[in-house]
Amino acid sequence: MARIVAGVGTSHVPAIGAASDHGKDQDPYYKPLFDGYEPAREWIKKVNPDVIFLVFNDHASAFSVEVINTFVLGVADGYNPADEGYGPRKVPYVQGHADFSSHINESLIFDEFDIAIANQMDVDHGLTVPMTIMFGKPDAWPCQVIPFCVNVIKYPQPTAARCLKIGRAIRKAVESYPEDLRVAVFGTGGMSHQLQGERAGLINQEFDTMFLDNLQDNPEKLANISHTEFMREAGSEGIELIMWLIMRGAMENPREVYRHYHVPISNSAGGLICFEEAGE
């Protein structure tokens, strides 16, 4: 049976990918950030997941304002890195697991989570930057990836409470898949940041710390945060943190094994938290 062995919450700021791609990860600006990723990279090697269920958002790359879906599950055999205006990142092709995706699709729908699916979807920095953060620069990614895309751009985003619940349904879906697979769930985006308007550059370290401190044991507290409170306290783009609650919902008894927090990365606060599932 497939089982969830680990969870990761991480920022997916595009500048992290650019720094890695252009060999700037040891520049003074980026060194403290990337040095803080090393223990997580060592840890994920030991976790050795077969599949990553990667929760992220598309930034007007695969999707646009033409059709806006709240939750989209990738069900393809694989996914190309997207052209975000600079040409695609030169990172490996993302191998999917179509049969596992299809199973999760069925399980979620029968569980009354009416997600959309994508048979073809280019994946932007929202997905590829977390892979870089955790795996560096390999010739091929060491595991398969199931992308799960959340609308965090068009208000109203799904509620934090809904994200926690769909995470639980994802756990149920994973655990009912017959293949013996080790699955890690990544929730990405955040931490506090605002890209737009006169308030651009907003960072709230106190909020971020509160979020990290409560993720393991008090996810219900975080699930009660309203859209307005997220945007007010963590910045209009900081609402991406709801995606970390999907990861948290997919874990039953998480135990924090590592945390890294750094300000700034470009216009954002960067956070990383790693959990192991108790008994795994």
Binding site: A15, H59, A60, S61, S64, V65, E66, I68, A82, D83, E84, G85, Y86, G87, I153, K154, Y155, P156, S192, Q194, L195, Q196, G197, E198, R199, A200, G201, L202, I203, N204, Q205, E206, F207, H227, T228, M231, R232, E233, S236, E237, V263, P264, S266, N267, A269
Partner: protein, 132 residues
């Protein structure tokens, strides 16, 4: 019709709600089109002709032509879309962040390195009005 509007109290923030999403559909689709290399080439070759393909309001079109990043948001633009135009221009998010908040890019970068824009005094229009 809106169920919640309390987010309108957040200063300097243009929540991408249904109204803005409708109002700036063409503006955002123009920006989105720039993620294809052939469109970037066409826009570079003749901006006027290229912009004619998108039925924006004259005011919206002017914000694009003037690279008025804040004006785009006022008229419904979304930052993830408008940033595609910034990428086209070779600008970073610090450049755009500075221009939207009336700061030079160097001042904006310096603000980020020292911890970013503080949340204190930046959370509520009503509070700010009360405190003068």
């Amino acid at each position: 019709m809106a169920i919640h509007t309390d987010y309108e109290d957040i200063p300097g923030t243009y929540v991408f709600n249904g109204r803005r999403c409708r109002e700036a559909f063409q503006l955002n689709m123009f920006c989105k089109s720039l993620d294809k290399p052939e469109n970037r080439d066409r826009f570079r070759a003749d901006p006027t002709v290229y912009l004619d393909e998108f039925a924006m309001t004259p005011e919206q079109r002017k914000t694009i032509e003037d690279r008025d990043w804040l004006g785009m948001l006022h008229l419904g633009g979304n930052i993830y879309y408008t940033f595609k135009l910034a990428i086209f221009d070779g600008l970073s998010m610090q450049h755009v962040g500075g221009m939207m908040s009336q700061m030079t890019v160097d001042d904006f970068r310096a603000m980020m390195v020292t911890g970013g824009r503080p949340v204190q005094g930046n959370t509520s229009k009503a509070e700010n009005a009360k405190n003068g």
